[in-house]
């Protein structure tokens, strides 16, 4: 195969991987901080897409599309704070022994609720958002302007997240909570407030991903299903709770899907990721960067 074409496929895979990364990071962020799996993550992605569609078509117009991303983040962040405060927080009161089960029930319920609300309000239609940017070249790779913007936007959002978590004290407090929840409480920090912020950031990231990818994957009631499926796949491959693990796993998944499509068949594109996932579960059950738990 021509080296340039191979480079194009590798680049294409990496671009897809970066796009997957944002959703995966949002899932792993919530899990890492609160130790709960949020099954409704795809619905926040979906709502981010709807918000972006409404903003572009009714308020800010296509030229200011980039404003929709922080707006979608902010709206869903606030929704996340409310959901955490009134629906998820009760799980953390007292000494609940079945916290994970409660979280699963609550978030699956929310998934069904939001998905059906979207169908009731928006109907069973797929909405297309105007292109963010004309087609361009990324080195030897011709790339759609929407994917190019998604790539830049994702890198920017992940960079901001990295800065907030590593360089600000509230960010470090969140990291502290992820490392030791009891330690952070007894050190004098209001863990309830941190939970709200963490859940808000997590679902806000999913909404930002939905807004950023709105012109790539269209906007509809079930638009969050595929990114969520990919997100969970990546989170397990990278290791639950590991943000760097999620980013690397997302890049690997993008590469595997892209190269598998070329060398085997594009019809089995989703299958390649699952085979990779199964191999990881067999040989590294805690994921590439997951902590090994001490059993005894």
């Amino acid at each position: 195969m021509d080296l340039i074409i191979l480079t194009q496929y590798v680049l294409s895979g990496l671009v897809i991987g970066v796009i997957y990364a944002l959703m995966a990071v949002s899932i792993t962020f919530v899990h890492g901080m609160m130790k709960v799996v949020n099954w409704s993550m795809g619905e926040y992605y979906m709502m981010g897409g709807y918000i972006q569609y409404l903003l572009i078509t009714m308020l800010i117009g296509p030229s200011l599309w980039f404003l929709g991303i922080p707006i979608a983040f902010a709206i869903i962040f606030m929704l996340g704070v409310v959901i955490q405060r009134y629906m998820l927080h009760p799980m953390f009161v007292g000494e609940s022994e079945r916290m994970d089960e409660y979280a699963t029930i609550v978030t699956i319920t929310l998934m069904i609720l939001f998905r059906n609300l979207a169908i009731i309000i928006g109907g069973p239609y797929q909405y297309s958002v105007p292109d963010y940017f004309p087609p361009t070249d990324l080195g030897p790779l011709p790339i759609s302007g929407n994917r190019f913007m998604a790539l830049i936007g994702t890198a920017l959002i992940l960079g901001i997240l990295y800065y907030v978590m590593k360089k600000t004290w509230p960010g470090r407090a969140l990291l502290g909570m992820s490392q030791n929840r009891i330690g952070i409480q007894t050190a004098g920090i209001n863990v309830r407030r941190l939970d709200e912020i963490a859940f808000g950031i997590g679902v806000g990231l999913a909404a930002a991903a939905g807004a950023l990818l709105a012109p790539v994957f269209l906007v509809w009631a079930e638009s969050g299903s595929v990114p969520t499926m990919k997100g969970f796949e990546i989170v397990v491959i990278g290791g639950l709770g590991s943000i760097p693990g999620s980013i690397i796993a997302a890049l690997l998944l993008g590469l595997i899907e892209s190269l598998g499509s070329v060398f085997i068949s594009s019809e089995y594109r989703d299958l390649f990721g699952f085979v990779f996932l199964i191999l990881i579960l067999i040989f590294r059950p805690n994921g590439l960067f997951g902590d090994r738990e001490r059993l005894a």
């Binding site: 000494e95 004290w169 509230p170 502290g176 030791n180 330690g183 409480q185 004098g188 920090i189």
Partner: protein, 250 residues
């Protein structure tokens, strides 16, 4: 007035009664020991005092005011600090960050002067706990004893610390660090008037540090007094040795 007054405190986990009708009173400036066989409810009691567990019934009064409904971070802000047998540290952060994060994350003031003052305080407390030479290391790189010392040092960062609840501070720790911890406790008590409630199985350490010792057995307080008094109490001997059963077994 007592700094800490516990009235009829009880904790049930389903059908299991971990603590039942525990009443005790600690005077300001005291170093009180809390001992008892494994599973007698010492750690559950500490968790209720720190706000990690909600009591099934009973009251906890701190400086005469009930704190039983306050969450852990408010109790810490009021001057109550708790350490754990397995240190609850931020393992991926440096020793210095472990010291700074709680204060800086809760403070609205982030001026360079404030941060510098906090850094100086952290250095002072780390020096006090003989950890200044490892301040750049990640918490997970510390030995078990150093981790315990870091928990204590982090507790000293709390403004207005008055009551230090320590759960097994000497468990599995070498003699040198054990001495460091005991010296630190005595110095904090003498110079800063900090009150201590120490749960420990290390009887020699408890004897050295604590004027008064409370003994728990099966969730209840069975004896209170000096170490010599409780050591000769028939109920305590029975709780630890199984009393006549133990004698007949041997």
């Amino acid at each position: 007035m007592s700094i800490l007054q516990v009235n009829n405190l009880a904790k049930h986990f389903g059908g299991l009664v971990a603590v039942k009708d525990l009443t005790l009173s600690i005077k300001p400036g005291e170093i009180r020991g809390l001992i008892g066989p494994n599973g007698c409810g010492k750690t559950t009691t500490m968790n209720m005092l720190a706000g990690l567990y909600k009591p099934t019934r009973g009251d906890v009064r701190y400086h005469g005011k009930s704190i039983v409904k306050l969450p852990p971070h408010i109790r810490t802000a009021q001057g109550i600090m708790r350490t754990f047998q397995i240190p609850k540290l931020f393992s991926e952060m440096t020793v210095e960050e472990n010291m700074m994060v709680p204060a800086l994350a809760t403070s609205t003031e982030k001026t360079p002067e404030f941060i510098e003052a906090l850094e100086n305080k952290a250095t002072e407390k780390l020096t006090f706990c003989k950890l200044d030479h490892v301040s750049h290391l990640l918490a997970k790189q510390l030995s078990g004893g150093q981790r315990m010392l870091l928990q204590i040092a982090r507790g000293l960062m709390v403004e207005g610390l008055e009551l230090f609840l320590m759960d097994e501070p000497f468990a599995g720790i070498n003699q040198v660090i054990k001495e460091t911890i005991m010296d630190a406790i005595m110095e904090m008590n003498d110079n800063q008037g900090i009150t201590f409630l120490i749960v420990s199985h290390e009887m020699s350490s408890v004897r050295r540090l604590c004027q008064t010792v409370c003994v728990m057995h099966e969730g209840s307080l069975i004896a209170e007094g000096s170490m010599t008094e409780v050591a000769n109490d028939p109920l305590v001997i029975e709780a630890y040795l199984g009393g006549q059963n133990a004698a007949s077994d041997s």
